[in-house]
């Protein structure tokens, strides 16, 4: 028996090799992506733990005194620390933000070189250094000071080094952080770090957030509060690694299923061919279990080889795959093997292969020895569907094709799933690229201003009144189905020039206008009664959606300036933000957030380059899967129909006619799978972006260009026809001896 297995392995080298290859591919994708992304997340998590990442940060009007700080620490068990930072403009519109190297919360780590050991030394973030060509030992002039770069490093609160917490994308060329000694803050620039509104990080040691929150509310006016899980600089990294992880799991898992089914169809073919031998063995009282074991061996061996090689390959590619995350400043990534990945990578394929093959084999062996003895031909039963179909009539060749499809139901379904999976991948690749492209265009069209500033000092908005429109913006949580979603509440002047929202004039006290992005992302609509949660006050406000405004790039709830204060139950009116067409020259340190439309679009452009590479990669993998699935399945179907094909060949049918009869009907299959994949890939792409933007107020709508649809379709067809071309040769090779062979 073992010799036979070896012979089987050798006899169908190409077929078996493609099974192994597909299993390998699926396991490699799962293991590769998960191992690298896990390593990424674990490294970040370890770094956060060892370097005392904050539990959150808040801003208050005024300053927390030394004694208040001591009270919070000793009585409330919570550490607080001022977030001192000074932004300096360098030439070429670049900004470097200097932070204290010496900190208790969010301690910087040195990734290369040495820590800061004198007042003239600086630790600098590596992405910024790379983008701008700074090396260790370089002297950099910042403001009136000259610093020597002692090393590269980063603190947990700037792992995603974005200028404003609300920024979607980083831009290492134009913004970076550096860490210097306390001298700068305590001796040189003291006036710059004490503002009207001051920001603090906190670390709950034995403390409890509620105690801290109550204390702050009693003693200060809380302006802003961002818990660590909402902090995009700290947490985006985890959302970002989740996408590839999930995608690889779903895609790899589906592929394993498809391959397992293909393998079990192939096993079934083999059993059918040997049905007479099996019948004799069973009739002689041979143990059924032993036969099952025999027929299981080959699929299990193939799967075991595939998953072992796949695991190894996954481990191998996990190191370079780290580079798909280019945005973050993290210490060197440590890749570790994990039990769950071994289980998934090595165990799941075997289990799935075992189950699918077992079902196929047992179903077959449960037939009586007699019916097995009569052989494959006599065991053919005609399904009711087929019988009914026979009565329908219609052109013969059409009926013949449909009959073949019906007869090969399982093969048909697997082929469909395979084409469907690769079509989803294919379309997703285009969706991912086009969506980002589309986002730029939408941003270009819909972002009504060139510059937006949120000022730390509320009263300062008046200084720019002439060149800008004043507005009020506040971070809020929208409560939906027990979930808190980050949104912006923005109060606009009714006759403002930036947003043309007609409904503003007609709003009742608690009514608002939501952006189309909000409607699309959370499914809220006109008439809905919603609740906003203000984290800084710990209060909920009721609102009602009166209208929707065409704005696809951000989760914004618009309302009139007066309504803003009615909704937030705040009697004291103020402005905190400015919208403008030109650069207002606001000092970097006076703004808590800053948007420059051109800059924002440039950084998305950089992201697009990466997405383009990624989507070409996905496209090639998708086409490869399509070719392999179509090829192996058609090969299996041909193998099963070998005798019949040999027969009609003998009658004088030409090879291309035979192809038309047995394989060409599958084009319908491909077309249907492709059509059905469109909505699914749209959904998948949307989920992909929603995952990445989970913690952000931005929204990116899944979008595909018509030309991309055509290209995707062309790629699918090309893959299909490529495998058909190979199949055609197999049809030509079927010998006549198949037909003349005695069938006893």
């Amino acid at each position: 028996m073992n010799k036979r297995i070896l012979r089987d392995l050798k006899a169908n080298v190409i077929k078996n090799a493609s099974f192994v290859f597909m299993i390998m591919l699926s396991v490699m994708v799962i293991v590769g992506f998960n191992r690298s992304m896990d390593g990424y997340a674990q490294t970040a998590r370890g770094f956060y733990a060892s370097n005392n990442v904050e539990d959150g940060q808040f801003s208050v009007l005024g300053v927390i005194t030394r004694s208040q700080e001591n009270y919070i620490r000793d009585e409330l068990g919570t550490l607080t620390e001022r977030n001192d930072s000074i932004d300096y403009e360098l030439e070429e519109n670049r900004v470097i933000r200097l932070l204290r190297a010496n900190r208790e919360i969010n301690e910087p780590i040195v990734t290369r070189g040495k820590p800061v050991s004198s007042d003239a030394e600086m630790l600098i973030d590596e992405k910024f250094a790379d983008a701008n060509g700074y090396e260790i030992g370089d002297r950099v002039e910042i403001g009136r000071h000259i610093y020597t770069v002692s090393g590269f490093g980063i603190s947990p609160d700037y792992v995603y080094t974005i200028r404003n917490m609300s920024d979607v994308l980083n831009s290492p060329k134009t913004f970076g952080v550096g860490y210097v000694s306390d001298y700068l803050f305590d001796r040189v620039e003291t006036e710059k770090i004490y503002n009207e509104v001051n920001s603090y990080s906190y670390k709950l040691a034995e403390g409890n957030f509620d105690y801290l929150f109550d204390y702050l509310r009693e003693n200060f006016e809380l302006v802003d509060l961002v818990k660590v899980e909402d902090n995009s600089r700290i947490n985006t990294i985890f959302d970002d690694v989740g996408g590839p992880k999930k995608m690889s799991m779903v895609m790899g898992g589906l592929l394993i299923f498809i391959v397992s089914f293909i393998i079990s169809i192939s096993t079934a073919n083999g059993i059918k061919r040997e049905s007479q031998v099996i019948g004799i063995l069973l009739a002689q009282g041979f143990d059924k279990k032993e036969l099952v074991r025999h027929y299981l061996t080959l699929p299990m061996i193939l799967t075991a080889i595939g998953s072992a090689v796949g695991y190894a390959a996954g481990v191998l590619i996990s190191a370079p795959l780290i580079n798909i995350q280019t945005e973050y400043n993290v210490p060197a990534i440590q890749l570790k093997d994990s039990a769950y990945l071994m289980l998934i990578g090595l165990g799941t394929p075997l289990i799935i292969a075992f189950l699918t093959a077992n079902v196929t084999i047992s179903r077959f062996l449960n037939k009586t020895p007699l019916s097995l003895l009569r052989g494959a031909a006599s065991s053919v039963t005609v399904s009711n569907v087929e019988k009914r179909f026979n009565r329908l009539g219609g052109p013969f060749f059409f009926r013949f094709r449909v009959k073949n499809l019906l007869r090969e139901k399982s093969g048909f379904i697997v082929l469909f799933s395979g084409v469907f999976l690769s079509a989803v991948l294919l379309n997703m690749a285009f969706y991912i690229r086009d969506s980002a492209n589309h986002y730029i265009t939408t941003l270009q069209n819909q972002l009504p201003y060139q510059y937006m500033y949120i000022l730390k000092d509320f009263n300062a908005t008046s200084d720019f009144e002439k060149k800008a429109e004043k507005t009020v913006i506040k971070n809020m949580k929208l409560l939906i189905a027990g979930d808190e979603k980050s949104v912006l509440l923005q109060g606009l002047a009714v006759d403002g020039r930036y947003y043309a929202i007609d409904a503003l004039e007609r709003l009742d006290d608690r009514q608002v206008v939501i952006s189309t992005a909000l409607r699309k992302k959370f499914g809220v609509d006109i008439g809905d009664e919603l609740a906003l949660f203000d984290q800084t006050k710990g209060e909920e406000y009721a609102i009602q959606v009166a209208d929707v405004f065409d704005y696809d790039v951000g989760q914004i709830i618009f309302t009139s300036y007066s309504n803003f204060f009615k909704i937030t139950e705040n009697p004291a009116r103020y402005y905190n933000a400015l919208l403008a067409d030109e650069d207002l020259g606001v000092n970097e340190n006076d703004a808590s957030a800053y948007v420059d439309k051109t800059g924002a679009m440039e950084s998305i452009d950089a992201l697009l380059d990466m997405l383009r590479v990624m989507s070409s990669l996905i496209i090639s993998v998708a086409v490869l899967i399509l070719i392999i699935v179509v090829y192996t399945l058609m090969q299996l179907i041909l193998e099963r129909e070998k005798i019949n094909i040999s027969m009609i060949k003998l009658f004088g049918y030409r090879d291309n006619e035979i192809n038309a009869l047995y394989t060409r009907g599958n084009i319908m299959n491909v077309l249907t799978a492709f059509a059905l994949s469109l909505p699914v890939s749209r959904l998948a792409a949307q989920k992909f972006y929603d995952g990445i933007f989970y913690n952000m107020q931005q929204y990116l709508e899944a979008y595909i260009e018509k030309s991309s649809l055509i290209m995707s379709f062309a790629a699918a067809l090309a893959g299909y026809f490529a495998s058909m071309l190979i199949i055609k040769r197999s049809v030509g090779k079927i010998p006549f001896s198949e037909a003349i062979k005695n069938r006893e």
Binding site: N390, F651, Y653
Partner: protein, 232 residues
């Protein structure tokens, strides 16, 4: 002559040694003849027939059918030859299991330039009542009738039958042979039939004896018996 086989040889390479399946076979037959080939097992009968049918190549010698020499043709040309000229009937019927009886015949009807009327043919071969059944629902004799109808429907010039009654009992065999007789008469199709049954030489117009790849004799039977009167 309609069928001319001249010094036909066929060598099979099996491992180190060549085996000579056909060793200079020569015989011929006229249009509309029934030519029966006898010989012990392994003597080369099927090989001979497969070469005539254009599904096997000859090593040397020639076969001419209706003036066309087929032994030097490309495989592409041989497809066209089989399509127009040849009908096959085998011992084990070899019908396509997932096609109905009618469809099994229909699939070959599309090959001929001038196919026979399917319904007439089905009536003649006695399978009209079974046309919507599937092969597995028919007895061996019935299946062989379908196979004959299938071979005949494209209106071939030559019908090649390799032990067509080998798997059938006496009575059924006789029915099938009568069918051949009728068909031969009705359509003037030349029939070449391999059989182990010595008695059948009496229904043939020509009898070829093969042994060890050689045609021992090829004689014309002047005294053809109707199948009805042959017993064995």
């Amino acid at each position: 002559m309609f069928l001319d086989v001249k010094s036909l040889t066929k060598k099979y390479k099996s491992g180190e040694r060549d085996s000579l399946a056909l060793d200079g076979v020569t015989f011929s037959a006229d249009t509309g003849e029934v030519c029966v080939i006898f010989g012990p097992s392994g003597s080369g009968k099927s090989t001979l027939m497969n070469i005539i049918g254009g599904i096997e190549s000859a090593t040397s010698g020639s076969v001419t059918v209706d003036g066309i020499e087929i032994t030097n043709k490309s495989s592409r040309a041989l497809i066209e030859y089989r399509r127009k000229y040849v009908g096959f009937v085998f011992q084990f019927y070899n019908l396509i299991p997932n096609l109905t009886i009618r469809e099994n015949i229909e699939i070959c009807a599309r090959l001929g330039d001038d196919p026979l009327d399917m319904d007439v043919l089905m009536a003649k071969t006695g399978v009209k009542d079974q046309e919507d059944k599937f092969p597995s629902q028919l007895s061996g004799g019935q299946q062989q009738r379908v196979a004959i109808a299938r071979a005949l429907v494209k209106n071939p010039k030559i019908l090649l039958c390799d032990e067509p009654t080998g798997a059938l009992d006496y009575k059924t065999s006789k029915d099938v042979l009568k069918l051949f007789e009728e068909i031969n008469r009705a359509y003037r199709v030349t029939i070449v039939m391999i059989t182990h049954n010595e008695a059948l030489k009496r229904m043939a117009t020509r009898v070829v004896r093969v042994k060890d790849g050689k045609a021992l004799s090829a004689e014309v039977n002047e005294n053809v018996y109707p199948v009805d009167q042959i017993v064995w």
